[in-house]
């Protein structure tokens, strides 16, 4: 067997897409007009698949803070947090994150992947047990498989299944680590976190929640699903990213456990990578301030999310169980999903095409992520593009 044989399915898929003139993976953004529109692959499109939930990538305060940081501190740190890569601003952002979440400790990572993968790989180790929601992000799967711990999946968003699996562990349950997400990245559905937290309390285990797609978007203060469900005290570790609602790049873990300060020096994705550049830290700090000071952004985001969700649902499309900043349309037939993605693009709407195995089931997704920066007319244009498709091609969903 050749070294490259295992890549044949990907080679075949790329060839199949190239033959029909489609390349939905890795489209090139050539020019941006704003947080919501740009030129992608030569086409002027509405950006409906960029996770730019609060539209802060072009916020003047964020840009100005980044520019000033570059001028004063240079373009990069050229080192790891553990060596020469901790600047004063990294520590200030950690303190501001801890204050924002109302906890005592925070770690800033260079990417969201480094945060979720690193914490998932490090908190539990050989002899420990991790229970993770089946629809967890790839970064969590990657981390837990590196941990050396026993890894058990439970059914997606099913507290009863989690309960059953913790019961099966007997005495080991109280030291187990449960990992869930606040809002799931692909389907946009929300965790039943109050019920998950009740199961956590019943067994006395630990709970880590990935709020990558909920920071700044949900909860009275924008702290995520743990806040909106009133269970922040039950969550031992919150992890997340700066690359979505904060419009930058980076990741974090916050906790009240004092051990986090020692744990940071054992997380390999923290130790063995360069720290975030000064510009990234500065714009992330500015964005975090905006989340605190401008709750109206959340209102606009949810107005737009509700408008898009209701509009697509009214077309008879198979969307998630509730309105969410991620509105994913399930298309069972992969060829139709590819065709629809292409037609949406031609109609001036860029969404994410998600096909198995990246999708959480055997079906494909046309995944839209909503932005607070959309005008109502832009949301209507997205709905209108889907309407055109529904009117010309019946959805081939058997279920």
């Amino acid at each position: 067997m050749s070294l490259f044989d295992k890549f044949q399915p990907m080679i075949d898929m790329r060839a199949e897409l190239a033959e029909i003139g489609v390349m939905p993976f890795g489209p090139v953004t050539e020019k941006l007009f704003s947080a919501t529109e740009g030129i992608v692959n030569g086409k002027h499109v509405i950006l409906a698949g960029t996770n730019n939930y609060l539209g802060l990538t072009f916020n003047p305060d964020c840009i100005s803070a980044a520019q000033q940081a570059v001028a004063e501190q240079g373009t990069g740190t050229t080192g790891s947090r553990m060596a020469n890569g901790t600047f004063s601003d990294h520590l200030l952002l950690e303190q501001e994150l801890a204050d924002f979440f109302g906890v005592n400790h925070a770690i800033v990572f260079s990417t969201g992947y480094a945060a979720t993968m690193g914490m998932s790989a490090t908190l539990a180790g050989p002899g420990d047990v991790i229970l993770l929601d089946a629809d967890s992000h790839a970064s969590i799967y990657d981390g837990v498989m590196l941990s050396g711990a026993e890894v058990i999946r439970f059914r997606h968003n099913d507290p009863a299944d989690l309960d059953k699996r913790l019961r099966r562990l007997g005495e080991r349950a109280k030291e187990a680590l449960v990992i869930v997400e606040g809002i799931y990245s692909m389907g946009g559905d929300q965790s039943p976190l109050a019920e998950i937290a009740a199961v956590k309390r019943k067994y006395g285990c630990y709970l880590m929640v990935d709020e990558a797609h909920s920071l700044g978007m949900i909860g009275e203060n924008g702290r995520g699903v743990a806040e909106s469900e009133g269970v922040e005290a039950d969550v031992d570790f919150i992890i997340g990213t700066f690359s979505k609602s904060l419009g930058a790049i980076g990741g974090y873990c916050v906790s009240n456990h004092p051990e986090l300060e020692a744990i940071r020096f054992t997380v390999r994705s923290y130790i063995f990578t360069a720290s975030s550049s000064p510009a990234v830290i500065a714009s992330s700090r500015a964005a975090l301030r905006i989340i605190k000071q401008q709750p109206e952004l959340r209102t606009r985001l949810w107005d737009n999310a509700n408008q898009l969700y209701d509009g697509l649902k009214a077309l008879g499309l198979k969307v998630g169980p509730q309105a969410s900043p991620v509105v994913a349309v399930t298309i069972e037939d992969r060829a139709q999903a590819i065709s629809w993605w292409t037609q949406l693009f031609d109609l001036g709407v860029y969404v994410n095409l998600v096909v198995p195995p990246a999708s959480p089931s055997v079906h494909s997704l046309l995944r839209c992520s909503v932005s607070a920066a959309y005008s109502s007319e832009q949301v209507e244009k997205i709905i209108s593009a889907f309407t055109t498709l529904v009117n010309t091609t019946p959805v081939n969903n058997a279920g």
Binding site: V144, I152, P356
Partner: protein, 79 residues
């Protein structure tokens, strides 16, 4: 009937709907190569088996399970 045979028997029942026409199921049957199960099919099938035996099969051991017989042995080890 030994535990192993009992586990095999139950696995045969769960797998039956997944068996392609003309394919005979036995303990040497490869879950992916012979039965053509996708990774999602394998996970669905594992959940059914977990519920029946009231066990959790760790993800860590799945790479070592390629045949029906491997799965029956793994269940025996967990029990």
């Amino acid at each position: 009937m030994s535990d192993y045979q009992a586990h095999l028997s139950r696995i045969f029942e769960v797998l039956q709907p997944y068996v392609p026409e003309g394919e005979e199921l036995n303990e040497q049957s490869e879950l992916v190569a012979d039965l053509g199960l996708s990774s999602i099919d394998v996970m669905e099938m594992i959940v059914e088996i977990e519920d029946f035996f009231d066990i959790s099969i760790p993800l860590n051991i799945l790479p070592d399970i390629s045949t029906v017989g491997d799965l029956a042995k793994a269940i025996g080890n967990i029990n």
